[in-house]
């Protein structure tokens, strides 16, 4: 771009900015010298937690939930989630129902077989402890809660190799919907601050200190 076009584009930009200013704040009416102290209009980007869109209400009936079409007649005959959740143990996330507790307390009896209501799952009670590099508590994976809902083949061997130290799991992978994130963060309890400690539940040993980073160890001004 040569010098001339640069100058032209700069002038254009300045003119456009001036035009916007004029139309928005009528600053032209006030001379530059006697311009009173103006409180800048707070931009919406400065509002608290712009990225945190809190739902105004939760467990809405299908016709009001935004994904069902209220113009569809059958939408209005679909069940209201709150009717189904009556008496189920509450939680602070997801559907706001503690599904595992509901099954443990016998509040719901979901079938293990499509057609046979008496079929029972093969529940395996085995906890797997996974040490975590970072300072958050170590992960305890309980097979019991998982085998109540799922079959071994749902996870093994495609998602998790049933072998010690054979699985690389990171929170980034989980957040992107891999490994645990295949279900957690979609249908089983979500991945958010309130749920960290559901997995990260085993405190570090009393003498555990966070390992110092390479940059700290090599810092010549230490």
């Amino acid at each position: 771009m040569n010098q001339k076009t640069k100058a032209i584009s700069l002038t254009c930009a300045v003119m456009m900015a001036a035009f916007m200013w004029n139309t928005q704040s009528h600053a032209a009416e006030v001379g530059e010298k006697e311009m009173p102290l103006m409180l800048a209009e707070v931009s919406s980007v400065n509002t608290f937690n712009v990225n945190l869109k809190k739902p105004k209400s939760r467990n809405l009936p299908p016709a009001e939930d935004g994904i069902h079409d209220p113009e569809n007649e059958a939408t209005h005959s679909l069940q209201h989630p709150l009717d189904a959740y009556k008496g189920l143990p509450p939680s602070d996330f997801g559907n706001y129902v503690d599904w595992v507790k509901a099954i443990d307390e016998g509040k719901i009896r979901p079938r293990w077989d499509r057609a046979d209501p008496n079929s029972e799952p093969f529940v395996m009670d085995l906890d797997i402890v996974r040490p975590v590099k970072a300072s958050v508590p170590d992960v305890v994976f309980p097979h019991r809660q998982h085998t109540e809902w799922l079959l071994c083949s749902n996870c093994h061997p495609a998602v998790f190799v049933p072998q010690r130290l054979a699985n690389q799991i990171s929170m980034s992978a989980i957040l992107l919907g891999q490994k645990c994130g295949l279900c957690h963060g979609k249908v089983s309890f979500p991945v958010e601050t309130k749920t960290c400690r559901k997995c990260h539940s085993k405190p570090k040993p009393a003498d555990w200190e966070p390992p110092l980073s390479e940059a700290t160890l090599k810092n010549p001004w230490k």
């Binding site: 209400s57 079409d69 799922l150 749902n154």
Partner: protein, 145 residues
């Protein structure tokens, strides 16, 4: 103004408009149940509303294993390329929605109840809540080869 600048301005305006239109397709204000799945692989193109699958309703009645192991549902929204032909043959939804275990398929609008034009997505999923949500359209692979 040189034609190059004009072209650049035009280009950025088009990109801006396209980016805005891109956000319109994604339901931003929906407050549906966690884990509601909208499936719109073929519905819109066939002149039907997209199908909505409520996980919450089904998990009260069945464990995950029934659909995700016995019936072959993938752990992915829209990952099964379900068609009505498969359903009436007793596959996927049709394994139960056959008038025996649950209501039959002639209740079209019970499933096909979504707002038209929505992309296939998993409502309330962590990936969708991330600050830069990334929707990937279904990769249709030709399995007949």
């Amino acid at each position: 103004m040189s034609s190059k600048i004009k072209r650049n301005v035009l280009k950025s305006m088009i990109i801006g408009v396209l980016a805005y239109m891109g956000t319109l397709g994604v339901p931003q204000t929906a407050q549906a149940e966690y884990a509601d799945v909208v499936i719109n692989n073929y519905a819109d193109a066939a002149g039907m509303r997209p199908a909505v699958f409520p996980h919450w309703f089904h998990r009260i009645r069945f464990r995950c294993k029934v659909c995700h192991a016995d019936l072959g549902f993938a752990f992915k929204a829209g990952g099964n390329k379900i068609t009505m032909a498969k359903i009436i043959d007793g596959k996927f939804c049709g394994a139960c929605h056959n008038g025996e275990i649950s209501w039959s398929v002639e209740n079209c609008a019970m499933c096909h109840s979504g707002v038209p034009g929505q992309p296939t997505h998993f409502h309330g999923s962590t990936v969708q809540r991330l600050i830069a949500p990334a929707y990937k359209p279904l990769q249709v692979k030709d399995t007949t080869k």
